[in-house]
C-alpha cells in the first residue's frame, strides 16, 4: 500500500478498487434448479453434493429475506445476479492468467513461490473459483490438507461429506441456504490429530466481475489436539452497483483442538453518497465439538457497504472455550450490524467477547449478540465487553445484546459503553505536538488495541495502517 501515489485521494481511501481485465466464463443471471445443476456440473461434483445444493435451494425458496437487522438497503433482485464467474483460462486448464497473478501482486498477495511470505500459506479465490493454493508441499508433510473446496471434494470426499453443513445446516437461514445452493468455491482445511500447523493458513477473496455475487464456502476441521491459525482477507473493485457476498464459514474443533480464525475485511464500502459497495451477508459459525477445544474469532471490519455477520461459537464440549474479538469501523454511509453468538451447552464452557465499534460520517454501527446458557452448562462463564466510539455527530451507534440463562451456576457479565473521543486525551496529545489527525488516530489505535493484539503479526500491522487510512478525512 505504501507504494501507491499518496496524492491520489481515491486510491488512498480504497486502494483495491481496480478491475482486472480477464476473460471470464459466466453463467446467465438468475437462480433456479438449472443454474444449480449447471454449477454442479461445471465443477464435476458427485451426486450427493448436487443433492445438498438442491435441498438448500428448496429451503431458500421457502424462506423470506430477514429484515430485522438495523440496516436499510433497496430490495435485492436475486434473479438478476450471476451466481458463477470463473476466469476462462483457468477453467480451460491453461494455467493461471498472468492478469490474475498481477492482481494478487497488486493486492500484496504473492502467489509465486519465491515471493511468498514466510510462514503463510494462501488459497486465493478470484470471483467464484480458487486460483492458487501455495505451500502445499510443506503442509502435506504434516498431513494437513489445505486446498480449494472443489479440490477437497475430489480428494477427500468422505471428509467433506461428513462435515459439510454439520455446523451451518443448508436451511439455517436465508443467506446460508442461498450459499449452500450456489456456493462455488472456497477453502478446505483439515488438520490431523496432534498436529500443530506450522504455517498461518490464509484465504484471500477477490470479487472482480460485475453483476456477480460471491458465494464461497470455507470448512476448517481441527482434529484431536491440533492447532491451526487461519486468516481471511477480502477486497473488490470500485463500482456504482452493489454486489452481494454471502459466504458460509464452518469450523469444527474436536477434542483439545484450537482454531484461530482472523479476518481483515476490506470490501469496497461505497462512496460518500452511499453508491455502490459490497453487501456482505455472511454466516460464520464454529463448533467446539470436543472437550477442551477452543475457537477464537478475530475480525477487523473496515469495508463493505452493509455488513451482516455474527461469527458464533457453539460450545458443546465440556471445558471448551469461545472467543470473539472485533473491531468494526464504519464511515460515510456504511452500515454494519455485527456481533456474535455464544451458545454454552457443555459444562464449564467459557467465552469472552470484546467488541469495539467506531462510527464516523453518516454511518450506522450496530453490535448485536446472543449469549445463551443451556440447562446443562454448569459453571459456564461469559464476559462481554462492547465499546463504541463516536467520531462525528451524524452517525449512529447501537448495542443490542441478548442474554439467556437457564442455569443458575452459570455466570455472565456484560458491559457496554458509548462515548466520544475524550477532549482531554486529544488536548494531552496535541499539547505534546501531535496534529489532531495523528492524535485521533493514536487514540483510536489504543481503543482497538485489545483486538489488534489477537491478530497474527503481519495482519496486526496491516490492520493498524488500514484503520489510519480509513480514518483520514472522517473527522469533521
Amino acid at each position: 500500500m505504501a507504494d501507491l501515489p499518496l496524492d491520489n485521494k481515491l486510491l488512498q481511501e480504497y486502494a483495491h478498487g481496480f478491475v482486472t481485465p480477464v476473460e471470464e466464463e459466466l453463467v446467465p443471471p438468475g437462480l433456479n434448479e438449472d443454474i444449480v445443476r449447471t454449477i454442479s456440473r461445471k465443477k464435476g461434483e458427485p451426486d450427493w453434493l448436487l443433492e445438498f445444493r438442491l435441498k438448500a435451494l428448496r429451503a431458500w425458496q421457502r424462506k423470506t429475506e430477514p429484515h430485522w437487522a438495523a440496516v436499510d438497503y433497496p430490495p435485492i433482485d436475486y434473479q438478476s445476479i450471476r451466481y458463477y464467474a470463473a476466469p476462462r483460462r483457468l477453467s480451460a486448464g491453461e494455467g493461471m492468467d498472468p492478469e490474475i497473478l498481477r492482481t494478487f501482486e497488486r493486492l500484496g498477495i504473492p502467489l509465486h513461490e519465491q515471493q511468498r511470505l514466510q510462514g503463510v500459506a494462501i488459497d486465493a479465490v478470484f470471483d467464484s473459483v480458487s486460483v492458487a493454493t501455495t505451500h502445499q508441499k510443506i503442509l502435506e508433510e504434516h498431513g494437513i490438507i489445505f486446498c480449494s473446496f472443489s479440490e477437497a471434494v475430489r480428494r477427500v470426499p468422505e471428509l467433506v461429506r461428513q462435515y459439510l453443513g454439520s455446523v451451518v445446516p443448508p436451511g439455517d437461514n436465508f443467506f446460508a441456504a442461498l450459499n449452500s445452493a450456489v456456493f462455488s468455491d472456497g477453502s478446505f482445511c483439515y488438520v490431523p490429530p496432534g498436529v500443530r500447523c506450522p504455517l498461518e493458513l490464509s484465504t484471500y477473496f477477490r470479487i472482480n466481475a460485475a453483476g456477480i455475487g460471491q458465494f464461497e464456502r470455507t470448512l476448517v476441521i481441527a482434529d484431536r489436539d491440533s492447532y491451526v491459525s487461519y486468516l481471511e482477507g477480502c477486497t473488490a473493485p470500485i463500482r456504482d452497483e452493489n454486489q452481494l457476498h454471502a459466504a458460509v464459514v464452518e469450523l469444527v474443533a474436536l477434542e483439545g483442538a484450537t482454531i484461530k480464525y482472523s479476518t481483515v475485511q476490506n470490501w469496497y464500502p461505497g462512496d460518500e453518497q452511499g453508491r455502490g459497495g459490497i453487501y456482505n451477508f455472511v454466516t460464520k459459525r464454529g463448533e467446539c465439538r470436543g472437550a477442551r477445544s477452543r475457537i477464537s474469532w478475530t475480525q477487523v471490519e473496515v469495508g463493505s457497504a452493509i455488513t451482516w455477520k455474527y461469527p458464533s461459537c457453539v460450545l458443546r464440549g465440556d471445558d471448551s472455550v469461545g472467543e470473539f474479538y472485533s473491531v468494526a469501523f464504519t464511515n460515510k454511509r456504511m452500515q454494519a450490524d455485527t456481533g456474535t453468538k455464544m451458545i454454552h451447552i457443555g459444562r464449564r464452557t467459557r467465552s469472552t467477547i470484546v467488541s469495539k465499534g467506531i462510527s464516523a460520517g453518516e454511518s450506522r454501527n450496530t453490535y448485536r449478540s446472543l449469549v445463551k446458557f443451556l440447562p446443562g452448562a454448569d459453571y459456564a462463564r461469559n464476559h462481554s465487553q462492547c465499546d463504541s466510539l463516536l467520531v462525528g455527530n451524524r452517525c449512529t451507534a447501537n448495542t443490542f445484546p441478548v442474554i439467556e440463562s437457564e442455569n443458575p451456576t452459570a455466570i455472565l457479565e456484560h458491559e457496554a459503553t458509548t462515548s466520544r473521543i475524550s477532549e482531554e486525551q486529544l488536548f494531552y496529545l496535541q499539547s505534546r505536538g501531535l496534529d489532531p489527525e495523528a492524535a485521533r488516530s493514536l487514540i483510536v489505535n489504543g481503543f482497538c488495541r485489545e483486538v489488534f493484539q489477537q491478530l497474527p503479526m503481519e495482519f496486526a500491522v496491516e490492520a493498524v495502517k488500514l484503520l489510519e487510512i480509513k480514518m483520514e478525512g472522517s473527522i469533521g
Binding site: 463504541s388 455527530n393 449512529t396 439467556e404 442455569n407 443458575p408 452459570a410 456484560h414 459503553t417
Partner: protein, 444 residues
Amino acid sequence: MAGESVQGLELGSVPTVNTGSTTSAAPTIHAPGLDDLPLQPDLEQWRRLAAARANALPWPLPTDEAWRRTDPRLFELDSMPVHARLSRRTELHEHPWDSFFDAVVELDGHGWAVRDRSGVVDPARLWIAPLEEVLRKDPALGSNFTGLSWPEVPWERHEWTALAHTTAALVVWVAPAQRFERGVFIRIRRPEGSLYCPWVLVRVEHLSVLHLVLSVEGRGDARYVENLWWSVGAAGQLRLARLQFGEGAASMQYLRGRVERDASLDLVSAQLGERAVRSNLAVDLAGPGAQARLGGAALVTGERHLDQRTLQVHSAADTTSDLRFKVAVQDQGRSVYRGTVAALRGAVRISGYQRNNNLLLSPGARADSLPGLRIDADDLTCTHGATVGQIDPDELFYLRARGIPEAQARRLILEGFFEEITSRVAMPDLREGLRRTLEQDLSA
C-alpha cells in the same frame, strides 16, 4: 358488575372493544400515540376513539419479536368480563402505611375514596379527582400527556383497550411551588374475576415536590391493565414508588412519563406478586437538566413470569438517567428484562446508565436480559451492564464461617442484593416498610 355511574356519565355509552385475543395475522400497525388523539373534555368521545385504536391493532402473536419470550396467551383479556366503572364512595380500609402520608386514595372493585389526613387535598393545591372532572375545569391538562410515543415502545392493543375500558381514571395534580413530602398513597385493591383497568395521571407543576406511592394488591385470577402517566414540570420533583403485590392475576402495567427542564424523577418499582406480569416503563428526559433515577427490585418465585421493559429517552441535552433493575428468580420462575437507552439527535452532554442484575436461585429458574443502547448523538456517555449469576459462594462461605445457618445467610445476601434499590425509596417509613415486606417474602 351492574351499571353504576361516574360523575353523571351513563355506562350505556361504554364503547365496544373486542377484548377477544383471537390471534389475527393482520400486519403490524404502528399505533399513533396521544399526539393526534389529545385528551379532551368529552371523554366518552375520546374513549370511543381509543377503542377504535385498539380495534385497529392486531393482537400480538407468540412469534412477534416483542412477545417471543413472553407468551401473549398469558395476557388474553377476553377470558374475563370488563369491570364496570366506579363511583366515589367514602368507606376506606385501614392500612399500616396510611399514617406515613398526607392523603390516602383507595380504589377497589366498588369505587374509590380519598382520605385527606392533613387537610391538603384542595383543587388549588393538591387536586385528586376523576379525569372527567379535571378536564371539565382545565381542558388544557391533556397537553401535559402528549408526545409519550416512541418506536421502542409502540402503543399496544392491550393498552388502548384498557384506556377505552378504564375502570377509574384518576388525576393527581400538584399546583406550582407546593411541597408534599408526606405525599399521596394510592392503594389499588384489584377485584377478582374481571378485567380491571385503572388509569392514573400525575402532573407535578413547576417547582413542586410530590411523593407518590402506588401499591396494587389482590387475590385470585383477574386481568389487570394499569396505565400510569406522569409529567413533571420545570424544576419539579416526583418521587414515585410503585409496589406490585397480589396473587394469581395477569397484570400489565404501562408507565409513561415525561420529565421537563431541570426536573427530576425518582422511581422505585417493586415487583413482588401476581402470576404473570408485563411491565412497560418509558421515561422521556425532555428538558435540559432533567434527571431520572429508576430502580427496580423483583422477586420471581413459583411458576411466575415477569417481563419488564424499560426505555430511557434522552430527547434534550444535558440530561441524566440512571437505571438499576435487580431481579432474583427462584423455583421455576422466569424473568425477562429488555431495556433501551435512546439518545436522540441533539441530545449532547448526556449521561445514560442502565444496569440489570439477575440472580438465579434454583435449577429451574431462567433469566433473559436484553439491555440496549441506541445512540444518535455524539459527545455523550452511555453505559449499560448486565449480569446473570448465582449467590456468590464466597459470600455464603464467609457468613457460614461466622455461624450463620445457610438459609439465613442466603436471605441476608439477597437482602443486600435488593438494598441498593430499597435504599432509594425517599420516605424513611416506607423504606423500612418495604424492607420488612421483602424480608417476609424472602423468608417464605
